[in-house]
Subunit: 279 residues, 2 copies
DNA sequence: CGGACAATTGAACCAATTCAACCGAGGTGG
DNA sequence: CCACCTCGGTTGAATTGGTTCAATTGTCCG
């Protein structure tokens, strides 16, 4: 029987990308392979060390178990070191709604930071390891370290933008666009964390994807085959290769082309600098 | 010709709820009618005063003008004192995607806080007034005032939760549910800020609603008439009265089951300690 | 008044759902 | 070892909810 650590570090990677030696499970921030993508990004080394000392260690979350549940009052936020976690929340009719997926290097539980309890749960899709960051200490440290504070705000903001991106795509009546967008999003997030932007393993089931995109499982399946038949994707079970990123972007609607000046809308003039965002 | 201030303060209110004397446009935090719902909620009076001094004054945003645009680099966040603002972002094919609506007392521009530039724009639907909060000063003050820091985090978290709620509703293939949910959401947010939870004026056009919900305008119209025919809503132009909230909640799917524990509150932990959710 | 725009309604069409059968992989137990 | 079951995934055929196209009304505003 293979040691579980193998699956942990490589679950979301194609075989070729595996980094065999890097056992990140126990590393503190300054030694962690995620340090350049994770919360402490941009911190000075002593700041990073302090942040690392804050961590109350790593935790391993087996597949299909909850990291936290709706209604839990969190006193920590979590940084995902490896594995994949899905964010869910329960609808009144008993089934769950998938809100998003959390990839390695990303942060979990921010949405509960100022609140007393969390409205959504987090389930490991693929065996995961997380760092725990006590909220009180994190807030204290943000007060002392402007750079960390700023970084935290950036991560907050990203989460919002990410949700916004999901909104633009989900339920636009276009299943193909939704799937394409999700795949591009996952690819680029993995790429941002140092992995291949072209090939990756989907850790989530078709059911989860369908739930997230607000479409039926059968439709997800059909869209995969359609994209495969068009030669845009190579699909082998959950291993995905993006063959034609341009086409993918085109069908996805390419949400944040936001930077184009739109004629037909008035400009207040006062205070707001439009200053041609170069195209 | 009626003075514009009338429209500003009452645009989102049914006539009966109007508060004629309250000209909030120039008030500083300690005197502002929004102070109990807005950013400084829970602050001590001297803290509130300090925050108020930070404000670089109020700005008025005429209808259909941008508060900020995608690509702008914001050095302020904004607090909406009156009016309604929609958050939008431009898709590559030239049309816009409505990401959400911002109601009085809510905060704008958080999503740009840590970033270099903003990916989404903000347009006044109804003539709006905002307070400007220089980001640098706000961050500085958060470092000095833990309560404010915590409050800011809460507002961040709410925005995320709000996006999540939108996600669960949009594109569930059920237009009626989407509309019902939006109306309930608006109603409860207005209620949370001291207005009627039953009757209100929709400030947004059917087109905006359709865009936001990811359905066609015609469908929005049909859903309105359907809900009206069922006796659930009273619809008069943009004036809405919710006659049967239970039915509304039922069709809306009532996404976060957890949220039913606290009636009248969309957000997690609105200052209220909500321990133990049943179920 | 006339033009532009918001909203509503009707009819035809189409994409995605639903219901159903099927396949392969994995696990279990006789 | 094979029979049996379950589960995730794919595919087919029929149905439907929402879109699209089109026409109508009403309202605001120059």
């Amino acid at each position: 029987m293979p040691p579980p650590i193998i699956r942990i570090d490589t679950a979301y990677l194609p075989a070729v990308d595996r980094v065999p030696g890097a056992s990140a499970a126990t590393a503190r921030c300054p030694d962690c392979m995620q340090r350049h993508f994770c919360l402490p990004q941009g911190l000075a080394s002593d700041e990073m060390r302090r942040l690392g000392n804050l961590l109350s260690g790593s935790r391993s979350i087996p597949r299909h178990t909850y990291l936290f549940r709706a209604g839990d009052s969190l006193d920590c936020v979590y940084v995902l070191k490896s594995g994949v976690v899905k964010l869910v929340w329960a609808t009144s009719d008993g089934d769950e709604q998938v809100l998003g997926f959390c990839l390695p290097g990303e942060i979990l539980g921010l949405e509960a930071l100022g609140a007393e309890s969390c409205v959504n749960g987090a389930v490991a899709i693929e065996t995961a390891t997380v760092c725990e960051l006590p909220i009180a200490a994190l807030e204290q440290m943000c007060r002392e370290m402007p750079r960390l504070q700023h970084r935290l705000h950036l991560l907050f903001a990203r989460q919002i933008v990410n949700s916004h991106m999901a909104l633009t795509v989900v339920g636009k009546g276009n299943a193909e666009a939704g799937l394409a967008s999700l795949l591009l999003n996952l690819a680029s997030r993995l790429k941002a964390h140092g992995y291949s932007g072209k090939e990756f393993n989907l850790c989530m089931s078709r059911t989860d994807i369908a739930n997230y995109l607000g479409i039926a499982v059968e439709t997800v399946s059909r869209m995969f085959t359609r994209l495969r038949q068009k030669g845009v994707l190579k699909v082998n079970k959950r291993n995905i290769v993006i063959l034609d990123p341009d086409y993918m972007r085109a069908v996805a609607g390419e949400s944040p082309a936001a930077m184009r000046a739109r004629p037909g809308c008035v400009y207040p003039g006062q205070g707001v600098r439009a200053r041609g965002f170069e195209a």
